[in-house]
């Protein structure tokens, strides 16, 4: 199987873009990724495009605006992991030897689309009884509190860390740091989660150009970042009384990524993880095996996940700080890891970063813990 490399990365600012369309945002990310890779429109052999609420043929609309048409274009919907699933698909096509230069795009325009909290699909009995996405995570947080002694202040410290990092990221939705006290003073959404502990509604797009080893050697050895593992898993149907404080889905995806890459959790220098809520970041890094189970929130308070800590988590600001345009999120995480590994992360640069991990986990459906989860491991 062929090795896969990220040769180009592009991303629009995340935030509220009421005057732009999803296609326009997508095209901007695509063109930036192509320029970054140093490849022409005609070099792209196939494309995968992740989005969730953008209607029919999002990929053709965005890529068409970006000057790409006629090639195989596949639209991908996999809840919040749609964009990272597009990367997984694109990477598989190179591993299989089918293509040598492909693009994965994630795009979402959500401004004006939702009233109130985000919910599972309406056909789901839990949604009909009042379950919202914040309340799913709130209940997992309450259980984390009961089992491990986690506190609201510790969860607020996760949100504060990510907003602090976002303030160093020019592409982030939130531009100023938020203190723990300010997080706790924001209004309650689902106890114990406050507004500042919930990812915002965002618009944005992100794209990566993936190439084979031969193309990397031909086009740009110096800037290429190796995609050492790209893994996709779906949630297992739950049987019995599973623990809601341990993510079987994240754990299984991570175990396979570590096995495929030959890189263990102890070698991961930094991580971008799916912090749709403050507690979510804890559940992710504990499921990934990057921190001991039950201990992450307390260790955030000690600074272990800060940019200058033992293992920086969500240096980009994460979903809480950078924003969460659903389909774009998983690709943006990989864009951030690429920029960190190239030393292009500006004020939030992690010194000496050689190995980074991107984790994206989306959705909730009746009877499954989560719908889809990707883990990408990248190295210089």
């Amino acid at each position: 199987m062929d090795d896969v490399y990220v040769l180009g990365a592009g991303m629009t600012p995340f935030g509220k873009h009421p005057d732009r369309t999803a296609a326009d945002l997508g095209a901007a990310a695509v063109l930036e990724a192509l320029d970054d890779a140093g490849v022409a429109l005609a070099d792209i052999e196939a494309a995968w495009v992740g989005s969730v609420f953008q209607g029919m043929a999002m990929g053709q609309r965005a890529l068409g605006d970006g000057g790409i048409s006629g090639i195989p274009i596949t639209n991908v919907e996999n809840a919040c992991s749609s964009g990272s699933t597009a990367i997984w698909d694109a990477a598989m096509s190179i591993r299989a030897g089918v293509y040598e230069v492909v693009i994965a795009l994630g795009v979402e325009h959500l401004t004006g689309q939702f009233r109130g909290a985000f919910t599972p699909d309406e056909s789901d009995i839990e949604a009909q009884r009042g379950l919202t996405m914040p309340s799913v995570y709130a209940m997992r947080a309450q259980r984390h509190f009961a089992e491990f002694g986690t506190t609201t202040e510790q969860l607020a410290a996760i949100a504060s860390k990510n907003k602090r990092n976002a303030a160093l990221n020019p592409l982030a939705q939130f531009k100023k740091p938020v203190t723990v006290e300010e997080v706790l003073a924001s209004r309650m959404i689902a106890d114990p989660l406050h507004l500042q502990e919930c990812a915002p509604v965002s618009d944005g797009a992100s794209a990566v150009v993936l190439v084979s080893k031969a193309k990397r050697d031909q086009l740009g050895r110096g800037r290429a970042i190796r995609l050492a593992a790209s893994v996709l898993k779906s949630g297992r149907k739950e049987v019995g009384l599973p623990e809601m404080t341990f993510e079987d889905l994240t754990h299984r995806a991570a175990e396979e990524a570590y096995a495929v890459s030959g890189i263990g959790p102890e070698e991961i220098r930094f991580a971008e993880v799916h912090d749709c809520f403050s507690i979510a970041e804890a559940l992710r890094v504990e499921g990934l095996g990057l921190f001991p189970r039950g201990e992450y929130p307390a260790r955030v308070v000690k600074g272990e996940a800060d940019l200058d800590g033992r293992l920086p988590v969500n240096g980009s600001g994460g979903l809480l700080g950078k924003g969460h345009p659903l389909g774009a999120t998983g690709v943006a995480q990989v864009v951030e890891v690429v920029r960190q590994l190239r030393g292009e992360a500006g004020d939030r640069q992690i010194p000496g970063a050689k190995v980074g991990l991107a984790h994206c986990r989306g959705g909730k459906a009746q009877g499954v813990e989560g719908t889809a989860c990707t883990v990408n491991i990248l190295t210089v």
Binding site: G116, R140, Q142, G240
Partner: protein
């Protein structure tokens, strides 16, 4: 118990709700709501059973912001049933539900709203509510 109301989701026996569920005739795994295939062993076809009218709170939250279809604030619990299955239900009672407490499953209005009226649905009734009613 006399069944006084039945629908696709539950039977109502006097004031207690018994949720309709499916049990695998092969391995015994229980699913609520029921399904076509047993997720544990792959057996096709589940037997219909009714869950016990009492359960134990696994976790809870109070929802302060929901969608326009629901009247917030309201409480939710994941409740563990003796048949080894977990079900999410709205909760009613005074104060917060408590992890580990026993709840009765009853029919009550809310939190869903339709045409300005709260809709009846199964709820987990916590001890506080029970003691108030019984006492």
């Amino acid at each position: 118990m006399t069944v006084v109301e039945a629908n696709s989701e539950y039977d109502l026996e006097e004031d207690r709700v018994r949720l309709r569920a499916g049990r695998c005739p092969d391995c015994g795994a229980v699913f609520c709501p029921t399904g076509t295939v047993c997720a544990a062993c792959g057996h096709r076809g589940l037997d219909e059973i009714l869950l016990a009218p009492t359960a134990t709170v696994y976790t809870y939250t109070r929802v302060h912001q929901s969608t326009p279809d629901f009247q917030a604030p309201y409480d939710l619990v994941y409740a563990d049933f003796p048949e080894n299955v977990r079900v999410m239900l709205p909760a009613l009672g005074e104060g917060y539900p408590v992890i580990g407490e026993q709840v009765d499953i009853v029919l009550a209005p809310g939190p869903r709203v339709k045409d300005g009226q709260l809709i009846d649905m199964p709820h987990a009734r916590t001890a506080a509510e029970r003691s108030e009613h019984d006492g």
